[in-house]
């Protein structure tokens, strides 16, 4: 829909509200459960579907071009490092896919402040953090100064 929320599964935890890039997942004040308040600003990005601990959110294709009867379900498991998909066609055809999402533990990235401080000298050259090491070539390329400003 855009996304929608199953009444019996949602417990109103708000993870979808917290993650939605479009700010369209809100908590209904009467039912205390989530809903999509603006389906025509939904990108079907599935951020909320993936974030829902209750698997309470699903998508129904945009009404103006998607016939009913399909589903695209997802299970994102950070502990396993995978995302799994099940596609079901209107005619019943099914397809399954699994992909890796990350090769390192969550939270393992080092702050740039943990690396040795750059020298004053290095502010005057063109190299960025961790260069040239991370370039995996000997040095950062540059252009011959004679080429500057010529047509």
């Amino acid at each position: 829909m855009p996304t929608f929320v199953y009444m019996t599964r949602c417990d109103g935890c708000g993870h979808c509200v917290d993650i939605c890039p479009s700010d369209i997942m809100h908590i209904d004040p009467t039912y205390r459960r989530a809903l999509n308040i603006e389906p025509n600003m939904c990108w079907e990005c599935y951020s909320c579907v993936k974030a829902c601990p209750q698997n309470a959110i699903d998508a129904r294709g945009y009404a103006d071009f998607a016939p009913l009867g399909h589903s695209v379900r997802v299970l994102r498991e950070e502990s396993k490092g995978t995302v799994s998909w099940k596609i079901k066609f209107r005619d019943g055809t099914e397809k399954d896919f699994v992909s890796p999402i990350r090769t390192t533990p969550w939270g393992s990235i080092k702050s740039p402040a943990e690396y040795e401080s750059p020298t004053e000298e290095s502010f005057r050259d063109q190299q960025l953090a961790h260069e040239p090491e991370f370039l995996k070539v000997d040095e950062l390329p540059t252009l011959d100064p004679d080429d500057r400003g010529t047509d």
Binding site: C20, N40, C42, H70, R90, I101, Q126, V137, D147, D151
Partner: protein, 614 residues
């Protein structure tokens, strides 16, 4: 005024303020910390940095990677490619600068845990095309955001930045930004020495093909609301190539990507009768643009042009021939995972319409236009280039600093450097941040000051839509029709209709001319006046109101630029009906504009294109 006078104001002071936590903003935040160990680095994001920006959904490819370590490409090669694709007009210094650094960013992504596909024979990254490599990028954004969060002093989520603040002590110098918290309604004043605008480009300035629920399935994210342009424009930063909007050839309705299909799966297009059609339009296109049509690869806009002409000749729909490639189970998997990794909506469309590309060749279409600085297009702010290779005309200060002191940018914000994509935007954020830290250190104690009068005035303006609604709502029984206010969606739909009909959208077959543009500007002016009467029922609608403001400012800029360039430089992106041909003798140059916020006028001029790569 009295109604909201007790609204809380929160002050946040920083040395470097990064506006927008997408790919460019995460790169900027990371790099700012590396160089500015003792500085306060703040990143402010409209949504949640973990899933924000154009890469929120993930990506299945990184479209800009040189592969210098394997001798695959050199930065100069990428400049030639981007220049060719943009019909000769790019800032070669900026493009070169991104290309020479981008590999180190990609290697860092892998180090951080982004799963890269490898070619089983060579052990190198799996190439999708000459520049593209394939990844399992479902978590591309959360991974990059983790790095930015580790680097930042503070990350503020759910704050919509509405305006930049200028220094009250020195002319033409930035001093911070203001906005509001979409959850609490608190007013935020960010006082900063350097500001790096890393906000998003523009979707939803042109009427999309789907106008019901499906209007959310724009090609570019619906939350890319042109803040990349409105923020700098409103403080008088010079902009470039704003007429250079992009139109995408994509799978119908879902706008699923075609790159992997063309490049990796080796699928190809045909008309409704199974005929190859591109070559039959070559001579016709050569009459419009000369030998640009003979370049390799054929520029993106010209391929669009051939498709559009074939459809106009009555031989649509154009289809992608997938049936052959999809007999190979590996290719079938790649074809589907490509969507699941970055455009899930296309998988939904195909499942709903029983389109299995193994048995059916799916339809293609051309999208509504978008304005951005990071794809096969290069609208954005005019920025100073790298010290070691930018021509003198392109250099007036720190790298990636705009024409406003202390105001930097990256990603969609910076114009002239096409084909950045995700990796290039991140790279540009890093480049801008190193320069911004240097700027902060060089200023020492000469810090900008924010005037209280300025932010108090903005506070009134920002929350006015809530007041408009509160007051006007009592006039009517119920419903959405009020004589006193417009809802943000009303204004958005008017904007999209104006741009579509007068500035070359899908409804006009991408064609416009001077009389149409003149009328378009008149209607935009009235829309701008009406923006004072937007009504917002709640904070979510207040966010929509300010997104609309930003879109309208960007649209006005696009329209002025389109009027100024009296040629058709990129057929397939848009056409000037009154100047149907490319005109290299007069227009092999950049267009520049500056908005004067005091007089409300736009000044346009040209700047030379310097070719620093042969």
């Amino acid at each position: 005024m009295g109604l909201f006078s007790r609204r809380k104001t929160v002050f946040v002071d920083s040395d470097v303020l990064v506006v927008g936590g997408g790919m460019a903003g995460c790169g900027a935040t990371y790099e700012a910390r590396y160089w500015g160990r003792d500085l306060k680095i703040v990143c402010v994001e409209k949504a949640n940095i973990e899933r924000s920006g154009a890469v929120a959904q993930g990506l299945y490819a990184i479209n800009t990677y040189m592969g210098m370590r394997w001798g695959e490409n050199q930065p100069e090669d990428h400049v030639r490619y981007a220049r060719n694709d943009l019909m000769g007009l790019v800032r070669e210094d900026l493009g070169y600068d991104i290309a020479r650094h981008v590999d180190s960013c990609v290697h860092q992504f892998e180090d951080w845990g982004l799963p890269m596909m490898r070619d089983p024979e060579t052990g190198r990254y799996q190439r999708e095309g000459k520049w593209q490599i394939m990844i399992h990028g479902e978590s591309y954004k959360p991974i990059v955001a983790e790095a930015a969060c580790k680097a930042a002093t503070e990350v503020y989520n759910r704050i919509m930045v509405t305006h930049l603040l200028m220094d009250s002590t020195k002319a033409n110098r930035v001093a911070g930004a203001v906005g509001f918290n979409v959850r609490t309604g608190d007013f935020y004043v960010f006082r900063a020495t350097a500001v790096i605008v890393c906000a998003g480009g523009a979707s939803h300035i042109y009427k999309p093909r789907a106008v019901g629920e499906g209007m959310g399935r724009t090609w570019y994210a619906p939350w890319s609301s042109a803040s990349a342009y409105a923020l700098p424009i409103l403080v008088g930063a010079r902009m470039t190539q704003m007429e250079n909007r992009i139109v995408l050839t994509r799978f119908k309705d879902g706008y699923g990507p075609v790159g992997a299909y063309f490049l990796h799966l080796k699928t190809y297009t045909e008309n409704a009768y199974g005929e190859e059609y591109e070559s039959k339009w070559t001579e016709h296109t050569r009459n419009l643009v000369g030998d640009y049509v003979d370049r390799h690869p054929v520029p993106t806009c010209l391929r669009n042009h051939a498709l559009l002409e074939e459809q106009k000749a009555g031989r649509g729909p154009i289809r992608m021939v997938t049936k052959e490639a999809f007999q190979d189970p590996h290719k079938e998997t790649v074809g589907w995972e490509n969507f699941l990794g970055m455009t899930i909506g296309q998988a939904v469309v195909w499942a709903s319409q029983n389109i299995d590309p193994k048995h059916t060749n799916p339809e293609l279409t051309t999208s509504e236009p978008y304005v951005m600085g990071s794809h096969a297009t290069c609208s954005g702010a005019w920025a100073s280039g790298p010290e070691d290779c930018a021509p003198d005309d392109y250099q007036w200060g720190y790298n990636r600093m705009m024409t406003v002191d202390g105001l930097f940018g990256a990603g969609d914000t910076i114009g002239g450097a096409a084909h950045k994509f995700s990796s290039g935007s991140f790279t540009e954020g890093r480049i801008a941040a190193k320069a911004a830290v240097k700027y902060v250190k060089d200023l020492r104690n000469d810090r900008p000051e924010v005037s209280e009068a300025e932010y108090q005035e903005l506070k009134k303006v920002i929350f006015k839509p809530l007041e408009n609604y509160e007051v006007g709502r009592n006039e009517i029984v119920a419903g959405t029709v009020s004589p006193s206010y417009l809802l943000p969606m009303h204004g958005l739909q008017r904007l999209e209709k104006i741009m579509d009909e007068y500035v070359g959208g899908i409804g006009a077959n991408y064609i416009t001319n001077e009389p149409l543009l003149t009328r378009g500007l008149e209607l935009l002016e009235m829309l701008k006046e009406d923006l004072d009467h937007l009504g917002a029922e709640d904070l979510h609608q207040l966010q929509r109101a300010w997104e609309l403001h930003h879109r309208v400012v960007a649209s006005e800029s696009v329209t002025h630029h389109t009027m100024f360039r009296t040629e058709t430089r990129w057929p397939g992106y848009y056409y000037r009906g009154d100047y149907p041909r490319l005109n290299d003798s007069d227009w092999h140059c950049f267009t520049l504009s500056r908005y004067d916020r005091n007089s409300g006028t736009w000044d346009l001029e040209t700047a030379p294109v310097h070719h620093i790569i042969d």
